[in-house]
């Protein structure tokens, strides 16, 4: 017979104030299997835990039930307690009578029977608890970093500096990401490229870092410590080993298309490097626009390439790498500001977005750093910066704050005032958010030192009148309708999750929120981990943030990876799926349901009526399985179970609750 000990916690008055703990104790003594019932003021306290250890020894308990707070709070604590008394920690079970009972009820008369229900359900489950043991797996000491913007570069360098190999993956022709497009960074106004490009070079030259640009993530299989990742290396059209990066091909290429890097403010060629400091300094061929691929003729680049590096026949190739951990740093997209019909983007050429402004103001940009109106290439004398275009807008954009726009728009206004001494800069804002070191000071400088004019009010409409752009708004601080005439408008678009974020998430079996931002395991306590062990997040792919926060998060993710890779082996959670081979029919309908590809067919041999036969059954990879239990429902045989949440245990809880809570009926 099992010997169950029940420990009822008062939690001071938290529980005892609403639940008659003594009465519950009295009733609990009658439960089958229960041989010991004890009340404690604070079961989680040192004496409380000591009482459990003592009772286990004195009463030879083999199951322990604590009725106190949420298992999410103290399950681990009590498991350790039980283990310290020599009992398997999984013989422990918890009844949540605080969060789920005493705290949400006021009437002792009804709360007490409910508390007892919770206790006896826990006892019924505990009677069916089994001894479980943790497994262990070896760890592949190599990391993959997806995305080589500032987040990815930082994470890769940190991990590589700690002595681990890193594979850095980037789908664009160069690393650097969004930060490479920026001119200056707030609040220090140091040059973005000046601080970024050295890191790019470091990453490229680091002996522990292997760089794959113009490459995409194809598939992720495996589990923490043992991922197998397939990478698609897109055809570059250029033999990277032969190419010297001299740039002759792009200067000779006759095709001009709008440059993605310049956000359409400048042009590039069909064979191109996005910008002069690109890393690696190797061009890619844009087949969609290349004359040869369109007409079968041209090949001018090939003719002029002295290194003979041009490859028109190159094809995509797939490579497979093994890694122990993955950092996802896939960045963000920008809100399409044309969704605001009232703002005239696309209708009026001098209404641009903030990233376009970055390119205009950038010394290495298409205008060599001169702020010029796209319409007539004149220098605008007045510019309005409109915040929250797409942010904080439930009707046309997203509900959240994009967090960096206030600061960079102030920076833009300062830059404009700096370059156009007699110009007027207006910032239309609703709230200026400056929660960072030296941010508020930066805001003040803009207003005081640079004369930037801040108008509190969301413009309602932008239209053209007499060759000027007019912003119709309310100055909400005055409570008066206003019209502001300017020559250029810069809209600060919301930061959005990558449009293929869902696909990326699904490839890696991690979750994402309603906007497509990848979900951290816990917003406060596990901010860089995902719910899939071994996969970490850095940068805006997890949610809008600025450069300092991005870099901090990247280093945090890197430190998690370094911590993981510093072990040879790691323990695995035992509350995962297991198959009863005797019951399994081998239909394998469980397999497609598993989100972790943890189920495979396995051939076993057994004796059936004296004959040795072999047959297929499902087998669970304990490294991959996360214990969700979806497979158990697909299993009609009842062969699949989740340790710790077995069918038997869950049914026992239902039966215990309902079987006896009603007066027993007489037999038929």
């Amino acid at each position: 017979m099992k010997r169950v000990g029940v420990f009822l916690c008062w939690c001071g008055s938290n529980i005892a104030g609403t639940v008659d703990v003594g009465k519950v104790a009295e009733q609990a003594r009658r439960l089958p299997g229960v041989v010991h019932v004890e009340e404690n003021k604070y079961t989680c306290s040192e004496p409380g835990q000591a009482a459990i250890v003592k009772a286990i020894k004195d009463q030879r308990l083999d199951r322990v039930v604590v009725a106190s707070c949420s298992p999410r709070l103290h399950e681990a604590t009590f498991r350790r307690t039980v283990e310290s008394a020599g009992l398997n920690p999984y013989f422990f079970e918890m009844a949540n009578v605080r969060e789920h009972c005493s705290w949400i009820h006021t009437d002792k008369e009804t709360a007490t029977p409910k508390a007892f229900d919770l206790v006896r359900m826990a006892v019924a489950k505990a009677l069916r608890n089994e001894a479980l043991t943790r497994g262990s797996i070896t760890i592949e000491k190599r990391a993959l970093v997806i995305g080589a913007g500032i987040a990815g570069i930082q994470a890769a360098l940190d991990i590589a500096d700690a002595g681990h190999e890193v594979i850095l993956l980037e789908r664009e022709p160069t690393i650097g990401g969004r930060m490479a497009q920026l001119d200056k960074t707030f609040p220090t106004l140091d040059c973005s490229q000046c601080i970024l490009t050295p890191k790019m070079v470091d990453a490229a030259k680091h002996p522990n870092i292997t760089l794959y640009t113009w490459s995409e993530l194809e598939k992720v299989a495996g589990y923490i410590g043992n991922f197998t990742v397939t990478i698609r290396r897109k055809a570059r059209g250029v033999d990277e080993t032969l190419c010297t990066g001299c740039g002759v091909c792009q200067s000779k290429c006759p095709v001009k298309v709008p440059s993605e890097f310049d956000e359409g403010m400048g042009m590039r060629k069909a064979i191109y490097s996005p910008f002069p400091q690109a890393v690696p300094n190797r061009p890619v061929m844009d087949r969609a626009n290349c004359t040869f691929f369109k007409t079968g003729k041209c090949k001018i680049c090939e003719r002029f390439c002295e290194a003979k590096a041009i490859r028109f026949d190159q094809e995509d190739s797939l490579i497979e790498v093994k890694v122990g951990a993955i950092v996802t740093a896939t960045g963000f997209d920008l809100f399409k500001v044309e969704k605001y019909g009232e703002y005239g983007y696309g209708l009026y050429p001098d209404v641009i977005n903030s990233l376009q402004f970055e390119r205009l103001v950038n010394a290495s940009g298409p205008t060599d750093g001169k702020i010029k109106k796209p319409s007539d290439h004149e220098i605008p004398k007045s510019v309005a910066f409109v915040l929250c275009v797409g942010s904080r807008d439930e009707q046309k954009g997203t509900t959240y704050c994009s967090r960096a726009c206030c600061m960079y728009s102030i920076k833009h206004a300062i830059q404009f005032r700096d370059k156009v001494k007699d110009g007027r800069a207006y910032v239309f804002y609703m709230d200026i958010r400056t929660p960072g070191k030296s941010y508020e000071e930066f805001y003040k400088r803009a207003a005081v030192d640079y004369g930037v004019e801040f108008i509190r009010g969301r413009p309602s409409k932008i239209f053209s009148r007499n060759g000027k752009l007019v912003l119709k708004a309310e100055d909400t601080l005055l409570g008066r309708p206003i019209e502001v005439e300017v020559e250029m408008v810069v809209l600060a678009p919301a930061m959005l999750a990558r449009n293929d974020a869902a696909k990326i998430a699904q490839t890696m079996s991690i979750s994402y929120d309603g906007y497509g931002f990848l979900n951290e395991a816990h917003p406060k306590l596990r901010p860089v981990e995902t719910n899939t062990a071994g996969i970490f997040l850095a940068g805006v792919c997890q949610g809008p943030k600025d450069i300092p926060d991005t870099v901090a998060q990247a280093s945090a993710a890197a430190s998690k990876v370094i911590g993981l890779l510093s072990h040879e082996q790691m323990a695995t959670e035992p509350m995962i799926a297991r198959v009863s081979e005797a019951l399994c029919s081998g239909c394998l309908w469980c397999k497609p349901i598993c989100p972790y590809q943890a189920i495979e067919a396995k051939t076993i041999t057994e004796k059936i009526q004296g004959k040795v036969v072999s047959r297929e059954v499902a087998a669970v990879n304990s490294g991959l399985c996360q214990g969700c239990g979806a497979c158990t429902v697909a299993c009609r045989d009842g062969a699949m179970n989740i340790s710790g949440f077995t069918n038997d245990q869950l049914l026992a809880e239902v039966d215990e609750l309902l079987g006896a809570s009603r007066p027993a009926c007489a037999a038929e």
């Binding site: 019909g341 409409k461 239209f463 053209s464 009148r465």
Partner: protein, 294 residues
């Protein structure tokens, strides 16, 4: 859609029987040219307009609901050329799903059951119906070449878009397309969807003069020679108030305000004399004569 159906229920609303008689004429003229029969909703009543929904939530639903009920029997799609009527009917149709309480009160008061509402078309949707576009495509008798027209949508056709589900609320294009299809040159202008003052036409003349004036001014500055509208209230305001506004602004406008159906009818060869263009307060025949269209 209604490729074979050539009959529509027709809800002219009060205006088309009074202040906007010429609108009624031109709608019917276009319908006739396209071989479409318009069957007037039997014994229709006023939709209640702004006055009802501004002051009386039940009537705001009940009046247009009765119109829908009257139209129900024929089972035909309803054409409501007045933008205000259209807005009220669409709102009532939407509320019939969302507000069982209103429906119950309505049915109890009137002693009849409200069935599923038919499709409701505004005049721009009507002009985009296959039967009409086919007619236009089949041959324009009198293309409006060189006529620069500013399409004015006003409010109620495109707003609130959750009710009308029609075109883009900020940058609509449906009337632009119709104008282009009859050979005219649509002129984009910022006032496209600004409000003309609508129901304040009688009670706050000062405001209407201000709003209508701005719209006409913007159209004029954008190079338009005329404005096309799809609503009798818009027409009355822009047409009737532009003189006062011009005086106030110190400019001369003289911009004819055509119903879009008048322009389409003209292009389809309907004689200008049949359209009652003379009813407009701002001279609308002179421009046509100048362009040799009349």
């Amino acid at each position: 859609m209604s490729g074979q159906s050539v009959r529509y229920s027709y809800y002219p609303g009060c205006s088309l029987h009074s202040t906007a008689r010429e609108y009624n004429v031109s709608v019917r003229a276009v319908a006739q040219a396209a071989g479409v029969e318009l069957v007037e909703v039997p014994d229709w009543n006023c939709c209640g307009a702004t006055s009802a929904h501004a002051t009386d939530p039940f009537l705001a639903f009940a009046l247009p609901a009765r119109v829908l009920l009257q139209a129900e029997e024929s089972g035909l799609d309803i054409l409501a050329p007045c933008a205000a009527c259209y807005g009220r009917l669409m709102t009532a149709k939407e509320e019939a799903h969302r507000r069982p309480d209103l429906v119950a009160r309505f049915e109890k008061a009137i002693g009849r059951k409200l069935g599923p509402a038919p499709r409701i078309l505004n005049v721009l949707e009507f002009l985009a119906e296959p039967k009409v576009t086919e007619t236009i495509a089949a041959g324009l008798k009198r293309p409006l070449t060189d006529l620069k027209v500013a399409p004015y949508y006003g409010c109620l056709l495109v707003r609130p878009s959750k009710v009308t589900h029609f075109d883009d609320a900020e940058r609509p294009t449906s009337m632009d397309k119709i104008l282009a299809s009859v050979g005219a040159t649509p002129v984009d202008f910022p006032g496209k969807t600004e409000c003309c003052g609508a129901s304040l036409g009688i009670s706050r003349v000062d405001l209407v003069v201000e709003l209508s004036g701005r719209i006409v001014q913007q159209a004029k500055h954008a190079g338009a020679e005329a404005i096309a509208v799809a609503c009798p209230l818009c027409q009355t305001n822009l047409d009737g108030r532009q003189g006062t506004a011009a005086a106030k602004l110190g400019e001369a406008f003289g911009l004819p305000i055509y119903y879009i159906t008048e322009l389409v009818a003209l292009a389809l060869g309907v004689a200008p004399g049949r359209l009652g263009l003379g009813k407009h307060l701002t001279n609308s025949l002179a421009l046509l004569r100048q362009k040799k269209l009349a």
